[in-house]
């Protein structure tokens, strides 16, 4: 069952289109990574999803409730951690959590143990009585995660949750998300960092300039990635044109570039998409055509390469 359904969502700010006709579903229990460069529309999408922003067009359902028509029902099942947030002054860590326990109408006699469990979870037990505004940024972020879990929500929406964390905390944070997923929560989180997402997510969406470029299971995406190669070969000088024409007429070959290398040899780099048999077929073709090949290599693009290509080199 899809717990989050986004149908033809668009959002304009004046003449600027921040989100342009995005549609996708997220299955219950997924760990969904939402990735895209600055200004891609991640935060805008998340603010619509969390009932903070009115969409210009389209519909968003969370657990079957419309974010526009039944925001309160959505709020009950959702925990949200914004990208930027503040904390109240003159308030201790436990008071902060207690305040939100109150907002979610959690029974008074359950709060004490709940708060200590949550602080344990985010490793802030020792800060129980400290003032919230005295915490470091990363600690505030962890406290905010604890806060978003106060009412044991089905859906967690986190906007760049790892951005203020040190490398160690980042790893721990990822483990925490995996752990939360094991507790049957659906987690929607955004990030700039592909490795954050590739390692732990089972579903990903890639956005750029308001457009959804790709969405689906990480395995499908990885397979797509694995099938994308560069073929790099070096041939003897006088045969470069013949090699190029063979490559150009072969299946799966995209752009072909040739650069002179040392000793009058030529390096040829060809974009290629196809599986392993296709690579061997290509090599066989070249050999049968009597092209004197000095070296031949099929290279898989790294995730980052693909991401850069997909997002047209936007800033990550």
């Amino acid at each position: 069952m899809s717990i989050i359904q986004i149908k033809n969502l668009s959002k304009n700010f004046g003449r600027r289109t921040a989100v342009n006709d995005i549609s996708f579903d997220i299955e219950a229990g997924s760990l969904f990574g939402f990735i895209g460069p600055n200004g891609a529309g991640k935060t805008t999408t998340i603010r619509v999803l969390t009932t903070l922003l009115k969409p210009s067009a389209g519909q968003v359902l969370v657990d079957g409730h419309s974010v526009v028509k039944q925001p309160r029902e959505v709020r009950k099942v959702m925990g949200y951690m914004p990208d930027f947030f503040g904390v109240y002054n003159d308030m201790t860590v436990w008071e902060y959590l207690d305040f939100f326990c109150g907002c979610y109408e959690i029974e008074f006699n359950q709060r004490k143990s709940l708060i200590s469990d949550l602080l344990e979870l985010v490793d802030l037990s020792k800060r129980h009585d400290d003032y919230v505004d005295s915490l470091s940024r990363g600690m505030k972020q962890r406290l905010s995660l604890a806060r978003s879990l106060v009412h044991d929500p089905k859906v967690l929406v986190l906007d760049e949750p790892a951005s203020g964390l040190d490398p160690r905390a980042r790893v721990e944070f990822r483990e925490l998300l995996v752990e939360l997923r094991r507790l049957n929560k659906t987690i929607f989180f955004s990030s700039h960092i592909l490795s954050d997402i590739a390692e732990i997510c089972n579903q990903v969406g890639i956005v750029e300039q308001g457009n959804l470029i790709s969405v689906g299971h990480i395995d499908t995406l990885k397979r797509q990635l694995r099938e994308t190669h560069h073929i790099r070969l070096r041939v003897m000088g006088d045969t470069v044109e013949r090699a190029k024409s063979i490559l150009a007429t072969s299946q799966g070959v995209g752009e072909v570039e040739a650069d002179p290398a040392s000793d009058g040899d030529w390096d040829i780099i060809a974009e290629f998409s196809g599986d392993k048999p296709a690579v061997t077929t290509l090599l066989k073709q070249l050999v049968l055509a009597d092209v004197p090949i000095l070296s031949f290599a099929a290279e898989t693009d790294s995730l980052e390469d693909v991401f850069m290509k997909l997002t047209e080199g936007g800033i990550l």
Binding site: D90, G102, Y104
Partner: protein
């Protein structure tokens, strides 16, 4: 406390009463009110006994005691009214814009806490704080009883007027706060509504009042005596109504009506040499006006909070 205790009130009380700020404020306030009371006492005592008279305070002229009591009571009430009408809107004007400014608003609003409870929580917290001011001044006000000259009814009426002022002026600030992103703008906006109302309204009414007699006389000479009388009565009611909406003029008129032996609830006002019209005591109109303002402002604020933003 139960799970249904309004978390906003708990939150505001915790943070507002923390540290020495609140106590310093209360101490300053008490010092001020004591000073004024002492001044009242000495001034009235002096003027009644004469500068060269008997300076022994303990044997103050018993006949003057009620005057001293009244003066203490009225001056402390006016001071409180001044503080409340000027502080309450500033406090509440900061409350919702402040959350936006501190970036705590989004988190608060994405909890299922009903907008109604946010509004009453914010208003309630400010009200409770101001009510503390009212309560702490009770010992000073009770001095007035010691001297006599003040009826218990008067104390009840004064407290009611003060409490309703806190709520009404607070609710205006709260609504304006819900419209704005920054506290600075909210506070400026609020004062630009409150100050003309508090200081401008009575003057405008008095100013318009100066036209009443000539206009009534003119109508009397051009049309008929009856027409001028009707116009006169309508004008008197209108002026009375408008002056009742302002806490200070309302209070003043209530005091005047009461000292003229007219009672605290109804009185008659002479409009022409032979006609007296019945009027409701101004404080009653004021209290109802406050209730009206609070309800309207609270509803508007709730609607504002329930609206999903376009930006």
């Amino acid at each position: 406390m139960t799970s249904h205790t309004n978390p906003i009130i708990v939150n505001e009380m915790r943070t507002r009463m923390r540290g020495c700020r609140a106590y310093v404020l209360l101490t300053l306030y008490l010092a001020l009110i004591s000073c004024i009371t002492a001044t009242m006492y000495v001034t009235i005592y002096d003027t009644s006994t004469g500068l060269y008279g008997d300076y022994d305070i303990t044997t103050a002229n018993v006949r003057d005691a009620p005057d001293i009591g009244k003066a203490i009571f009225i001056s402390t009430t006016i001071l409180l009214l001044f503080l409340i009408t000027h502080i309450a809107p500033a406090f509440t004007a900061a409350s919702i814009s402040g959350e936006r400014e501190k970036q705590t608003y989004d988190i608060l609003i994405t909890t299922p806490l009903l907008a109604r409870r946010i509004v009453w929580g914010k208003l309630g917290a400010v009200f409770l704080f101001l009510f503390l001011l009212i309560l702490t001044s009770l010992p000073v006000q009770s001095l007035a009883f010691l001297f006599g000259g003040v009826a218990f009814t008067e104390l009840i009426i004064a407290t009611l007027v003060l409490a309703m002022s806190a709520l009404a002026f607070g609710s205006v600030g709260l609504y304006i706060s819900s419209l704005n992103r920054t506290t600075m703008v909210s506070i400026l906006f609020t004062y630009s509504v409150i100050l003309p109302f508090v200081y401008g309204l009575p003057f405008i009414v008095f100013w318009l009042g100066t036209f009443t007699l000539p206009v009534v006389a003119l109508i009397g000479s051009v049309y008929s005596e009856l027409a001028s009388m009707i116009i006169g009565i309508v004008m008197a009611y209108l002026a009375g109504f408008l002056l009742s909406l302002n806490p200070f003029s309302s209070g003043l008129l209530t005091i005047i009506a009461a000292t003229n032996g007219n009672g605290y609830f109804f009185f008659t006002e002479q409009v022409f040499y032979n006609i007296s019209i019945p009027m409701v005591s101004p404080w009653i109109i004021y209290v109802f006006f406050c209730v009206f303002i609070v309800i309207v402002m609270a509803q508007l604020t709730i609607r504002q909070l329930n609206q999903i933003s376009n930006f």
